[in-house]
């Protein structure tokens, strides 16, 4: 039984279709990649799963329950956590306070009777930004802020973690460490769905990859399968040199564009 099932989801902004009958599943305990060229509808799909965007049609099923109309915060309570492509850290708070706030929100009244200082420190250590603990979140580099968002999401103990371009802003060695962290999280039983442009990272850590283009899933498979797929190559690199006449182009919808929120 998959943990997440995105079932025939359509999102339209005015006359423009950002997500076009997208269909894919995320298996429990897997690291799943969602890749595709710019404007393919990846972030919009994330917004649909987390509840920031209501789909025009289709369903989102999480943990055996239809959550399509559920408000954002209740999805979080059911175990969906995320990070943002355009950072959403709490800029006026320090890095440690950011994570602490996540605990505050998640714990509710129960949090009054529990000290979270150690948990905060542990999480900052885990993602490797303990040295920034007392810096304000609007003064740290992008890569660090992305790790902060990860730590903050982890504070809510999510079953499913959606990461939107988590490695952009990290250098090579940081990305490598980040890949190991993802595997560690998956081994602990968390399920990870990530949008990522660093193909080395995606190919190394993902069990399964879904390729989104024009809002639809055009390919699924293991990293090796996806990389070898000519449709994927075409989606990423534009036309191969043999010219435009392929049959598969005719079925691609003409009206497609992602609207930036």
């Amino acid at each position: 039984m998959p943990l997440l099932h995105v079932d025939d989801v359509v999102v339209q902004f005015g006359g423009v279709t950002a997500v076009n009958h997208a269909n894919f599943e995320v298996e429990q305990g897997s690291i799943t990649g969602l890749i595709g060229p710019n404007g393919a509808g990846k972030t919009t799909t994330f917004n649909v799963v987390t509840g920031l965007q209501t789909p025009t049609s289709g369903r989102v099923v999480f943990d055996d329950k239809d959550i399509t109309r559920m408000p954002v915060h209740r999805r979080s309570r059911r175990g969906i956590g995320r990070t943002f492509q355009r950072l959403e850290a709490f800029g006026s708070l320090t890095v440690a306070e950011n994570v602490r706030t996540a605990f505050d929100i998640h714990d509710g009244f129960a949090g009054l009777f529990r000290s979270v200082q150690n948990d905060v420190d542990d999480l900052l250590d885990l993602v490797g930004i303990a040295n920034h603990a007392d810096d304000r979140a609007d003064s740290i580099p992008t890569g660090t802020a992305r790790l902060l968002e990860l730590a903050r999401a982890l504070a809510c103990d999510p079953k499913l973690l959606l990461l939107d371009e988590p490695s952009s802003g990290l250098d090579e060695s940081e990305t490598e460490a980040f890949g190991e962290l993802l595997q560690q999280l998956a081994n602990e039983g968390r399920t990870i769905l990530m949008v990522e442009h660093d193909m080395d990272l995606v190919m190394n850590v993902c069990d399964t990859i879904h390729v989104l283009d024009f809002g639809s899933v055009i390919a699924d498979g293991t990293p090796a399968q996806v990389r070898a797929n000519p449709v994927v190559q075409k989606a990423y690199l534009g036309y191969s040199d043999d010219g435009p006449a392929g049959d598969d182009t005719a079925v691609l919808p003409l009206v497609n564009e992602e609207v930036v929120l």
């Binding site: 987390t50 509840g51 920031l52 408000p71 954002v72 915060h73 209740r74 999805r75 979080s76 309570r77 969906i80 956590g81 995320r82 943002f84 355009r86 950072l87 959403e88 850290a89 709490f90 800029g91 006026s92 708070l93 320090t94 306070e97 950011n98 602490r100 706030t101 996540a102 505050d104 929100i105 998640h106 949090g111 009054l112 810096d135 304000r136 979140a137 609007d138 003064s139 802020a145 968002e149 903050r152 999401a153 504070a155 809510c156 929120l261």
Partner: protein, 675 residues
């Protein structure tokens, strides 16, 4: 039937005038995204200018109209856009509200300064002519109003749909940045929108003045009707705005006409003037939910939050200061001190709501009034009565917030404005509250059996309450609630995905802030023992917001100073009636200048020691070697235990002090040199 037709005709004419005013509001909002609270006040001001030209100076009406609508108003609009509201469209809602409220107060200040209160009237156009159509009396004023509203509608249509600059206006709503890439000048477009919008505000005021009267405040309140009409078109659709204005005009006319036909109407004499307010409230409640915005990392530089020890020392120090201050003071002065403290508590309610939470309330005085009424009605002048007043006001606050809990920012602020207005005109004047201009009586407070009989002891007791509320607020700021509040201000989307149900949190914060305001009101009435509805005018809520903008919304110091000056403002105006209006203008200008930094003057006060140590001492040390060492001895070189969450990280804050970073570095080098 004839009666009905008459009311309908009057309704249509009133609606036509509302439509003119409202279309100006829509034009400025939709091209610059600045919601101009001062729209009505601007209309009021130019109505007086028109009166001055046509009545006092005796110019012909047509010439006066041309001068006002063709020259004075557009020119003012351009200047306002250029120097006051530019760039506000992308600023936080709180900032743009503070600035436009300041504009409103400035307009009233200037008008009352120039035109001293006296009986004035603008006659209708052609007052002697009357037309009788099937038994219904129609005046030339009505016809002119209707024709002008059609001309305005047609003119706006031509401007927006048939000219390049009008097309650019609509384009700049979609994407001002892209307009720049096309080679269009967004600034010119905005200036034109403000010029036309200001003229339309003036025209609306001039047309309604014979009906409403030459009253500074009533004319300013035309803006409520304009908001209500414009809100039906979601602030962007002109046709819907016209529909809204007509519906509102008709509704007002029917209420005036038929109210006395209903049983129990004598209790609702206050109803007709608040029809637009109720209309506005209803539309706000029916508006669909605004989607969450996803943006970038935002952070605001805040005033330092003092440590618990420091708070304690300052709190006790403040009480001690008040004790010393009030001993042997005359009663009249004592009353002022007590009022300042009550206003200080009222300011503290804004620190929680606006300073930390980022929400704006334009009704804090209304909540204070609710607290005073409850305290008076409960007739338990003890802690129980006080608690009932606090909780009761909190509940009222929650009731105001619940209908609009799906909305954010601007709409919540407008709902509070509507609420303040309703309380002011409908509730506070009704028999069970104040009655009309009758004082409300209450007894002095007694705490655990000790009755605060004397004024002196009451004022000291109030100072203790101020300190207690300040403690609570600082505790909130340092604790979980405060962090969540600030997190919510920085990113609502992130809070949602972390599992926070913001709707109820928002209601809770709003109710909490209202409770504090209720406490302030209850303390005020227990001190004065008698209070009138005039102490809780909605206009005072606007002044309070400006005081908060000037002195700072993020610190207890700002609240205390704001409270003192809030009390002092009417005193100073009473002592110097010649410059009463100027004092409003001064406050407004201060708020416009400082409003973009929510920390206000208090922030610069906090910066003072660091400036002295960072800039002044090195400069002196250069001149007088040896000085630097002494500065160290005096303890200036060490940072105390405050959590300075300020200084070098002010990227997100347009009003932040850019000098803070370099200053801090200077401090460090200087410290090394001193060693």
């Amino acid at each position: 039937m004839n009666e009905f037709l008459s009311y309908t005709v009057i309704g249509i004419f009133t609606g036509a005038a509302y439509a003119i005013a409202a279309s100006g509001l829509v034009l400025t909002y939709s091209t610059t995204r600045v919601f101009n609270i001062a729209h009505g006040a601007i209309g009021m001001f130019f109505t007086f200018v028109y009166w001055d030209f046509s009545q006092r100076q005796g110019l012909p009406a047509w010439l006066s109209l041309v001068l006002v609508l063709g020259i004075c108003a557009p020119l003012t609009g351009v200047l306002l856009q250029r120097f006051v509201t530019r760039g506000l469209g992308t600023a936080p809602v709180g900032v743009s509200l503070v600035v436009t409220v300041a504009l409103l107060v400035a307009m009233i200040g200037i008008a009352t300064q120039i035109w001293k209160p006296e009986a004035r009237a603008i006659p209708e156009f052609f007052p002697d002519k009357r037309f009788d159509v099937w038994g219904i009396v129609i005046t030339p004023q009505h016809i002119i109003t209707l024709v002008l509203s059609l001309l305005v509608a047609g003119g706006l249509y031509v401007l927006l749909a048939r000219t390049r600059v009008g097309t650019a206006m609509r384009a700049s709503v979609d994407n001002a940045e892209l307009l720049g890439l096309y080679g269009g000048r967004a600034e010119v477009v905005s200036a034109l929108a403000w010029a036309v919008g200001t003229s339309l505000a003036a025209l609306g005021g001039i047309l309604l003045a014979p009906q409403i009267g030459m009253d500074f405040y009533l004319l300013t309140l035309i803006v409520i009707s304009a908001y209500a009409a414009a809100m039906l078109g979601k602030l962007t659709s002109l046709p819907m705005t016209y529909v809204g204005a007509m519906a509102l005009g008709l509704a007002s006319s029917y209420v005036v006409g038929y109210l006395d036909k209903f049983p129990g109407a004598e209790n609702l004499t206050g109803l007709p003037p608040v029809v637009p307010t109720i209309f506005l409230f209803a539309i706000l409640v029916l508006l669909p939910q605004a989607p969450l915005r996803i943006g970038q990392v935002k952070g605001l530089v805040s005033a330092p939050v003092p440590s618990p020890t420091k708070t304690g020392v300052w709190g006790i120090g403040l009480i001690g200061f008040v004790v010393l201050l009030v001993s042997g003071m005359a009663d009249s002065t004592l009353l002022n001190v007590g009022t300042a403290i009550a206003y200080g508590i009222l300011m503290l309610s804004l620190v929680l709501l606006t300073g930390y939470g980022g929400f704006v309330s334009l009704a804090q005085f209304a909540f204070a009034g609710v607290g005073a009424v409850i305290y008076s009605q409960v007739e338990q002048p003890n802690l129980f009565g006080l608690a009932v007043a606090i909780i009761g006001t909190g509940l009222v606050g929650a009731i105001v917030a619940i209908p609009v809990l799906r909305l954010t920012g601007l709409y919540l602020a407008l709902a509070t404005l509507a609420f303040g207005q309703l309380m002011d005109k409908l509730i506070f004047t009704s028999a069970w509250a104040f009655e009309f201009n009758n004082p409300l009586k209450a007894e002095r407070l007694s705490v655990l059996g000790y009755k605060f009989e004397s004024l002196t002891s009451t004022v000291i007791m109030m100072a203790v309450f101020f300190v207690l509320v300040a403690f609570v607020i600082i505790a909130i700021r340092r604790g979980r609630l405060g962090r969540i509040l600030i997190a919510m201000r920085d990113s609502q989307a992130a809070c949602g995905t972390l599992g926070l149900d913001m709707r109820w949190f928002r209601v809770g914060v709003f109710a909490g802030s209202a409770s504090i305001a209720g406490l302030a009101g209850a303390l005020l009435i227990s001190m004065r023992m008698s209070i009138t509805a005039n102490d809780f005018l909605y206009f005072n809520s606007l002044l309070l917001l400006l005081m908060a903008g000037v002195w700072g919304l993020t610190s207890i110091t700002g609240a205390a100073l704001g409270g003192v000056f809030m009390m002092y403002l009417p005193v100073a105006q009473g002592e110097n009636p010649d410059i009463a209006g100027l004092l409003f203008v001064l406050l407004a200008v201060g708020a416009i200048i400082l409003g973009r930094n929510p920390n206000g003057l208090a922030y610069y006060l906090f910066q003072l020691p660091r400036w002295i140590q960072g800039s002044l001492f090195p400069a002196l040390a250069e001149k007088y070697p040896g000085m630097a060492l002494r500065a160290q001895e005096y303890g200036f070189g060490r940072r105390d235990d405050d959590d300075y969450d300020d200084g070098d990280h002010n990227d997100g804050d347009p009003g932040g002090d850019p000098g803070a970073g370099p200053l801090a570095e200077e401090v460090d080098t200087h410290a090394v040199a001193a060693r």
